[in-house]
């Protein structure tokens, strides 16, 4: 049976092991699985589709280059995201671009065409107004976070990574990530309430 027909049933770590044995088709399956995730992940950093695509593509090249020393006891996903993050940060330093500039774009995405995203079908006008108000306050609160905090918010809530994986990606510990998450959410709360009082 053609290997390619069974690749879909291999775990990421099994595919890396096969890649390490010289089975290059395994890389194609990994690319298929992660190309969109990685592209979106890089987009958070470099904010440009073409560059994000280049960074994602280069990440896979790095995966291939490191195929011989991948530790099969570790998880593939945070490992490849760590590679992608490092590439993006180096790229940003090289191009002197401003990383993770604004989370306004996330709010815009939630506001414009999909502006109804924060309401349910049964919401009346009051609930819609509350949702719009909440969105606005949240955007203001997010804008006031520092760069590192915005990165944690992006990884935790937009990429839906757990603290352990975030720690691996940014080169920290799980405890440190949790502590930062505490600070961020408390800070958001504080800013949110302060903004609300101004209204």
């Amino acid at each position: 049976m053609d290997y390619r027909l069974t690749a879909a049933f291999q775990t990421d770590e099994e595919l890396m092991a096969l890649l390490g044995q010289g089975r290059h088709e395994a890389l194609a399956e990994l690319v298929r699985r992660y190309q969109n995730d990685l592209f979106r992940f890089c987009l958070h950093y470099v904010r440009d589709a073409e560059r994000a695509r280049d960074m994602a593509q280069e990440s896979f090249i790095r995966v291939y280059a490191a195929r011989g020393r991948f530790d099969p006891t570790r998880k593939f996903r945070p490992w490849v995201l760590c590679i992608a993050r490092n590439l993006c940060l180096n790229e940003l330093k090289r191009k002197k671009a401003v990383p993770m500039e604004s989370l306004e774009e996330y709010a815009t995405a939630a506001r414009d065409e999909t502006g109804e995203v924060l309401r349910s079908s049964s919401d009346g006008p009051d609930q819609l107004l509350m949702a719009a108000e909440r969105r606005q306050l949240l955007t203001k609160a997010l804008e006031r976070l520092d760069e590192e905090s915005r990165e944690i918010v992006t990884l935790r809530f937009f990429e839906r990574l757990q603290a352990r994986d975030i720690a691996e990606i940014i080169g920290s510990t799980e405890g440190a990530v949790r502590t930062r998450l505490h600070r961020i959410l408390k800070s958001l709360r504080h800013i949110y309430i302060g903004e609300k009082e101004k209204w």
């Binding site: 027909l5 194609a28 049964s122 505490h182």
Partner: protein
């Protein structure tokens, strides 16, 4: 409560929501929440924050285009093999043809001919008014058209393409029960006669959707706009334009044209009304009506400049009148855009309003529209692609392989654009089926001209397509689990709301996973 206590509680709550507490501490937090209003309020606030952040992320993710870099990564590794663990050379990444923005033009066709190294290709520029070989028969559907048999080919009898094609066939077969081709269902509903339950309840609709024998026909009967009621609505000057657009399909050609002209007059900025008018005119088939249909397209393009569909319509109309240069020019412009949409969302919302106007309960009307959304667009889009492919095959039969390839690759791109712009699963199926059909014809072309490289490219594209069909099948499995569950009416109202706001493809992104789990646990 002082600030320190509040901070401590907040941290514990965060860890609780993150699942980071051990069992004993979790239990303690839950007990504290029972007795503490302040803690419960903090929890509500935090959960809302989590939901809002999650939705912001989903909305962003929903706008990020899909990419295909399998080929590019493979090419880069072949051309610039990286040293194990070394830093990559900058700028070495090979950019393959970008599926998202793919330019197909005469110049590229000429370049492709050179790359294929087939000196006997004619690079004929098609002149306006040139008649094509008699093999082209407009209106003949793809399945009826003959594909020229190659006299000989040197490719292996069982190739990697054959293997992946089998897998494509298998996955497509699994998708078949989820398709809702309107014309087939309309036939079945006619056979079924008048509905025994003229105004269904929510339970009736769900039962019909679950019934694989005659249920879909019943659903289509309920979804049909009654012609007499449609006429009354059209005659009422107070009927809003979106309802006029929705009921036009129930009317005769002339009546529909008048209703849609009225709708466009009321809402000149509405691209959906404009498209439906162009469709209604084009479907009448005469050269005069085709010209009137074509006259709507510039306005449609102006209203929705990123939508490739008007260009494909323009190409088809140009081909029908024999102006192949204009048709090819329209295809070239079409393939440079990102998405193609026939406004299934607007159509579904209009249908729900029209059914409500006709006396159906609003939540039932919305559920019917949500469950059948995109079916009409599937037929329209697939038939358009089929017509264009027919022209591609005609050029193949006339041995103008360059032009044939340009047209067929444009149709393949059309399929990708439809898939990319899909909000509903039926639209996504249309995009996938169009790509499948184009791949079939391209394979015939590459076999005819003995292009091993072309077949190899096609194999990779087909493999990617199989992956996406597999994903869509996964989506339908989840949807069927929901459909067969014992969910409450409130839950179905929530589902309908999400579908009619964001499309069914994003349904599971917006539904709370724990709610889905508890509902689908009731599936017998």
């Amino acid at each position: 409560m002082n600030t320190e206590d509040r901070d401590r509680l907040l941290e514990q709550l965060i860890d609780y929501l993150e699942g980071a507490l051990d069992e004993e501490t979790s239990r303690r937090v839950e007990e504290e929440m029972v007795s503490s209003d302040a803690l419960r309020r903090e929890r509500v606030w935090l959960e809302q924050l989590y939901t809002d952040l999650d939705e912001m992320g989903r909305a962003f993710a929903g706008r990020v285009p899909r990419v295909d870099m399998v080929g590019a990564v493979s090419d880069t590794i072949k051309l610039h093999p990286p040293d194990t663990d070394s830093n990559s050379a900058r700028g070495r990444t090979v950019r393959r043809r970008d599926w998202v923005r793919w330019t197909v033009g005469l110049a590229m066709a000429a370049g492709l001919i050179m790359a294929l190294g087939l000196a006997w290709y004619r690079t004929t520029l098609v002149e306006p008014g040139r008649t094509v070989a008699p093999e082209i028969r407009p209106g003949v559907r793809l399945s009826e058209a003959g594909i020229p048999k190659p006299e000989s080919h040197s490719l292996e009898a069982v190739s990697p393409f054959d293997i992946i094609k089998n897998e494509l066939r298998e996955q497509s077969e699994k998708l078949r029960p989820s398709k809702l081709p309107r014309s087939v269902l309309a036939e079945k509903s006619k056979e079924a006669g008048e509905p025994t339950v003229p105004m269904p309840s929510l339970e009736d609709v769900l039962a019909a959707r679950r019934d694989s024998s005659g249920g879909m026909a019943r659903l289509m009967q309920w979804a049909q706009i009654n012609t007499e009621k449609a006429r009354l609505l059209v005659e009422d000057p107070k009927t809003p334009a979106p309802i006029l657009v929705a009921v036009a399909s129930a009317l005769s050609a002339n009546e529909a044209e008048r209703a849609l002209l009225t709708a466009v007059g009321h809402l000149p900025e509405d691209p959906h009304a404009r498209l439906e008018l162009a469709r209604a005119l084009g479907e009448q088939g005469t050269p005069e009506k085709q010209a009137e249909a074509a006259a709507q397209l510039p306005a449609l393009r102006g209203l929705d400049p990123d939508n490739a569909l008007p260009y494909y319509l323009e190409a088809k109309i140009a081909f029908d009148r024999g102006d192949f240069a204009a048709g090819l020019q329209a295809l070239e412009a079409a393939t440079q855009l990102g998405t193609a949409s026939a406004y299934a969302m607007e159509s579904a919302l209009g249908q729900a309003r029209a059914l409500t106007e006709m006396g159906m309960q609003p939540e039932v009307a919305r559920l019917i529209s949500a469950l059948t959304a995109g079916a009409d667009q599937y037929e329209f889009l697939y038939n358009l692609a089929s017509d264009l492919l027919q022209y591609g095959q005609g050029f193949m039969a006339a041995q103008d392989y360059a032009t044939a390839e340009q047209i067929i690759e444009a149709v393949q791109q059309f399929g990708r654009q439809v898939e990319e712009g899909a909000q509903f699963s039926q639209e996504a199926i249309a995009g996938l089926d169009i790509q499948t059909a184009a791949i079939d014809v391209l394979h015939a072309l590459y076999t005819t001209v003995e292009s091993a490289e072309g077949v190899e490219d096609l194999t990779a594209q087909t493999q990617d397509l199989v992956g996406r069909i597999y994903e869509l099948n996964g989506f339908f499995n989840r949807l069927n689990d929901l459909l067969f569950s014992q969910a409450t009416a409130d839950f179905w109202n929530l589902v309908t709301g999400i579908i009619l706001e964001s499309g069914d493809l994003l349904l599971f992104d917006y539904l709370d996973p724990s709610a889905v789990r508890s509902v689908t646990a009731t599936v017998p």
